[in-house]
Symmetry: C2
Subunit: 318 residues, 2 copies
């Protein structure tokens, strides 16, 4: 059999997880190292290689691998570099793809986390067979990966697909985003965005709500979900507010690339219909007539613990 | 020489202009028929063919032509059909590409006006050599054609690139768009949108302005330009208002596809720096840091009378 496996590296600010993946999207083995323990990127690559060999040797050695994909913060597909990532120990520009392919002796491609997630959905997930879709990751930030004609859109410089930073509120009292901008989608639909909405909505009413018993500065979408499930009206209103902003933005995204589907991944999707219903309602009311009732909104069905490694590994099949 | 020419058809609600174009983008000959005179699409195609032969025979006959491209309202590249165009005499779905290629005996492709304009810029205009750009047409409506990796984006259904219908104002008093939607870019940056802004801004102030002498219901961007050139502060404010809305929207478009340039075509571009300056200022203040100072905004340099025929003809070289 001709090189049946690929390696997927999910590089996060805390942990770096490396997995062996087959063509069906099974993660056969995995290992990890602590990203922050290596002040020098060369030490990081050496340590990763040593760890990797423990799982690579048992499946037949590096000759069995077609290539390697890495999802990293600020990873640039065109250059193979990590560029100015604020949460990694290495400053400036890190030539990650070159360092990894030199060390491992197989081709290596790098991209950012959200583009890797989009690749993972296309190769192994709910977007299998789709040629046009948009991936939205709802986590600490809001990321996106855009697929057109079966290819991830990188733009002229490799940085396309920053849909967390489109402006959804241009008014005076728009929220400040983590990036310094004003009124960006991420400031409303990220984990901290939802927490802030919860605080604002709870503070603005004297209605009874289960959420008032919690520490108002640390409410999570899981807390809001639990309350909504228990019939809490204020909790439902928080999902309604968040979902409406997402749905309106999605209508604009559809006007751009007319995707077959918008696929959602991340913590907020665990709130199920409580977040899905207002998203779809708001998107439908904003879509042009030609698209009404035609654009799917789907949750990812990849196992959360595998998704990032799968997404990165998908790059290596190209 | 192997088929040196292509045909470009610019089908408008009033006139249909057909031109013979060479590889350098010279329009060697042109002819036209009245679109509205043919209640039956077959009669339209027959009349167009008869007219076309008058200019085709002198250059050596149809054997000299590689193909034909048509830009038509609601033209769909995937299907080759015109679909439900409100301003054309034919209702429902018209299989234009098939009818034309059957009649002329050469391959024919159809697209909408704004996508044709984007093709024209890429093949003959300021986007020559660019692989990633966005074309915005500012006329009766606001249209767009998006090019990624050297190809026009059609999306999963052929309708991608409706950037005139992204929402720029989600407030209660947002304008109603021609399409029935609320707060769309087209309601602010089309010819009627600018006229409406002029009326609102003039009515809201008692400042002296040259524009007050004009019929307030029929002010054009040319009137506003003339006044601005004469030093009129209210006229400058109208461009500032319009350009700010455009520039903010452009920043969102950049977050999507990271284009090398945004290219503008249409009546409003004749206002030169009066409209360009506020566009660039607003875009720059809204762009993410990675893109500040890096995205070009350019005016089309195609002759206005040739641009639509050139754009349509560009489809035929593919």
């Amino acid at each position: 059999m001709d090189k049946p496996y690929v390696l997927g590296l999910d590089m996060g600010g805390t942990n770096s997880v490396l997995g062996i993946v087959d063509a069906r999207g099974h993660v056969l083995a995995r290992t990890s190292i602590k990203t922050q323990e290596y002040a020098d990127i060369n030490d990081y690559v050496d340590a990763l290689y040593t760890e990797a060999m423990r799982i690579i040797e048992p499946v037949g050695g590096i000759e069995m691998f077609r290539g390697m994909g890495a999802g990293a913060p600020n990873g640039n597909y065109y250059t193979g570099n990590i560029e100015l990532a604020p949460n990694l120990p290495w400053k400036g520009i890190v030539p990650l793809a070159r360092l990894l392919s030199d060390k491992f002796g197989i081709p290596c491609h790098v991209t950012n986390d959200a583009n890797a997630a989009a690749m993972g959905e296309m190769v192994y997930g709910v977007a299998k067979g789709m040629k046009n879709f948009i991936m939205i990751t709802l986590g600490t930030g809001v990321g996106s990966g855009i697929v057109i004609d079966g290819k991830v859109v990188y733009g002229h410089d490799g940085f396309a697909g920053e849909l967390g930073h489109v402006t959804v509120d241009r008014s005076e009292n728009a929220r400040t985003c983590g990036c310094g901008g004003k009124g960006h989608l991420e400031a409303y639909a990220s984990a901290t965005g939802v927490a802030r909405s919860a605080k604002e909505i709870i503070s603005s009413t004297s209605e009874p709500t289960l959420l008032r018993q919690l520490d108002i500065d640390h409410i999570t979408s899981k807390d809001v979900y639990d309350a909504a499930e228990a019939g809490d009206e204020v909790a439902k209103r928080i999902f309604d507010y968040t979902g409406t902003i997402l749905g309106h933005s999605f209508a604009d995204f559809v006007a751009f690339s007319a995707p077959e589907a918008i696929i959602l991944f991340g913590g907020l999707t665990k709130s199920g219909h409580w977040i899905m219903d207002p998203i779809v309602r708001a998107m439908e009311e904003s879509l042009l007539p030609i698209w009404k009732g035609k654009i799917k909104v789907l949750f990812s069905d990849l196992k959360e613990s595998d998704a990032a490694v799968l997404g990165a590994s998908a790059l290596a099949w190209e």
